[in-house]
């Protein structure tokens, strides 16, 4: 049992920090790749920008530094890292009584650094170092939450936010790289390793598939691997796990609520077949996954947060 408003805030903290981390990683990969003035460097920059939903990726890819700076620091842009962290922190402030001091301190620290007047200078002095540190701090934040918060309902709402956001972000990245709209398949070695880096997947991939960079394997790994924490399958398994734990106490949740949707989504990934996906086109499959994530999000909101009072008033 916890306040509906509080559950909502914890869920959004999860979503915002996951988004911030992903954007930092995309920016970092983009900046590293474009140090070389190669054709694939521009391709990588366009992938990164298209994956965050920027329709202007071709133009912006010409100035990757400025694109990364805006993506990270621009407070006017509600989708930037700084804005996401400010919102995560604002949500945390509203549920300050529900999270441990250790967890709060981490998030507050990241936010303070990001909104510091010197942040722009620090970013200019060493963009990659800045991004690395931010990602490491976000790991520390998640670690502190994991190690100090009770793994009860509140923590599960937080995790639910993290994994739903992650599934959607990785899904969007895969759509950009393997979707039907792509005219020219990605074959360049540097582009393929960069793609893995954007999913923080390079080293885990190498351990499974060795240094054999095949687009098919990369799609399979980021989509269907059972153990890799950023694969879509792994995310959907966690979504189902956290939701079923949360729903135990709510009768309405099991019947037609988010539980069923999450189970179906998990099964879709668990029993997927690479051959079928490739035959039908990755786009159709990815679109179904992303839509179902959105449906889970709506159902969570309707079941736990914005339910109508008539159904819940005591008789």
């Amino acid at each position: 049992m916890m306040l509906a408003r509080v559950a909502d805030s914890l869920y959004w903290i999860g979503r915002y920090v996951e988004r911030a981390e992903h954007l930092c990683r995309l920016s970092d990969v983009m900046l590293t790749a474009t140090l070389d003035r190669t054709e694939s460097a521009t391709q990588i920059a366009r992938i990164a920008l298209a994956a965050v939903g920027d329709p202007d990726d071709a133009a912006k890819a010409l100035d990757p530094y400025e694109a990364a700076r805006a993506l990270v620091l621009d407070l006017e842009d509600p989708g930037s890292v700084a804005s996401s962290l400010a919102r995560a922190r604002e949500n945390a402030r509203q549920v300050r009584d529900q999270i441990t001091t250790e967890t709060w301190e981490r998030l507050n620290l990241i936010h303070l650094r990001m909104s510091d007047p010197n942040a722009a200078r620090d970013f200019a002095d060493g963009s990659q170092a800045f991004l690395h540190e931010t990602i490491a701090d976000l790991h520390l934040f998640k670690g502190a939450a994991d190690a100090t918060m009770s793994h009860g309902e509140g923590w599960r709402f937080f995790q639910l936010g993290v994994y739903l956001e992650r599934a959607q972000l990785i899904g969007a990245l895969l759509e950009v790289c393997f979707g039907d709209r792509r005219r020219r398949a990605i074959t360049d070695h540097q582009a393929l390793t960069s793609l893995l880096r954007m999913g923080c997947a390079l080293e885990p991939y190498l351990r499974v598939y060795t240094a054999d960079m095949q687009p098919k394997y990369i799609l399979e790994f980021l989509l269907l691997d059972e153990d890799f924490p950023r694969s879509v399958r792994f995310c959907t398994a966690r979504i189902e796990e956290h939701l079923s734990s949360i729903s135990r106490h709510v009768e309405a949740a099991g019947v037609s609520g988010p539980d069923r949707l999450a189970g179906r989504l998990r099964a879709r990934l668990q029993y997927a077949d690479m051959g079928e996906i490739q035959a039908g086109g990755a786009s159709a499959f990815l679109a179904a996954v992303i839509d179902e994530c959105a449906a889970v999000h709506r159902q969570v909101y309707e079941t736990f947060v914005a339910y109508t009072l008539e159904q819940r008033l005591p008789a």
Partner: protein, 493 residues
Amino acid sequence: MGAAKAKGADRGSAIDAPAVPYDEMRDADGAVRPQYASLAARIETLSADELAERQRTLERFFLLQGITFTVYGAESTTERIIPTDLLPRIISAEEWKIIEAGLIQRLKALNMFLADIYSSQQILMDGVVPRDLVLNAPSYQREMQNLFVPHSAYANVCGSDLIRQPNGEFAVLEDNLRVPSGVSYMLANREASKRVFPGTFRGAGVRPIDRYPDLLLTTLKSMAADWRPNPQVVVLTPGVYNSAYFEHAYLARLMGVPLVEGRDLVVHDNMVYMRTTTGLRRIDVIYRRVDDDFIDPLTFRRDSGLGSAGLFNAYRAGNVVICNAPGTGVADDKAVYAYVPAIIRYYLGEDAILPNIETFLCREPAQLSHVLANLDKFVVKAVGASGGYGMLVGPHSTKAQQDEFAAALTADPNNYIAQPTIQLSTGPCLIGDEIDSRHVDLRPFILSGEKIVVTPGALTRVALRKGSLVVNSSQGGGSKDTWVLTDRKDLQP
């Protein structure tokens, strides 16, 4: 009128001779007082740089913890920490005994006063306090008449403002019985000063204050325990934009109870519920940090979005307890204040242990003319205002300000009281990189439910501007930790 003049009058008015303020650390000859001995010795060994370094550590602690208030500007929004001084204020065991006894006596009498004026009004019949003064006070809530309050504990949380007079005696400047704040700073200052002066702290024998959240929860539960075995307690906050939001979240977290906002509450059939993930859950006790006027738009201000419609009726029906009770403000009204010594005598048959500051009620024509003739020497306060607003500090005012107040006083004398300018005591503070004296007051916190308890500690507020007597945080004030020492006799040998 006799009752209105406080005990201070007997010692001769302080008006014409602003005495030298009492110094907390040193006596009149400049010798260090015993309770400050170890701190003074420690400071001696620290260089200016080391002190400044400790001050930075302290400020970083507050920033990291998010103990900040938000300044909303036109260009950007920034967060600032409340100015905090690292040198603790120290109170000896003997001094504390008097303070503690005085506070308990005072709150006991004020609760009895509230129970009386909201029922049979005996004290008004007997003419001890003027009837119109109480019934016409804006803070008097007619809705509270004949409403049962468990243990007659109206003011469950009280934060009285004490000052130390030039003769060394503590006196009460104000009773805060509505929604007093500052207790989180008392607790946070303590955590910070343990980090900054660990050695001195250990040696000094400081009484712990960390049981406060536990005692607060016990107090709140005791308000409903008679009919609900394990009452559900919540803290009601106006929300994250309130300047005391940090404190609301802090107390909820340390008590382990939900922090709710008005929008989380639902009133149905005179029961109060909160919206949880598993549906509606009943609430028994609300520790509200929302002012009376905003609790329930149906009963009080219609435009309030901070409370919950129907809350007051649920309270009247006895299905929920609101702490502090609505309408307690009438007992800390600045005009009623003048009668507190008489109130104590009336209900308890005792003299007030902690004296009042001599207070002139402008509603009495003779006192008004005395105040008007001496505006440059008085502190004039509007009865309804708080936070250092609506106030004239005579000796620091311009002729124009005095004229403005003279006009206001003549036009609406009922709304004003006047007190002689009291030299608050001074204590050492780190200003820049050197130690200098600043004026301080003392705000201890008293809890009353089934029992009345005083936490052995307080918030010491500091007027950081040199010579200033205004300690409110909205007017350039800061705070510091307050050490109440253990009586050596109470310690095991």
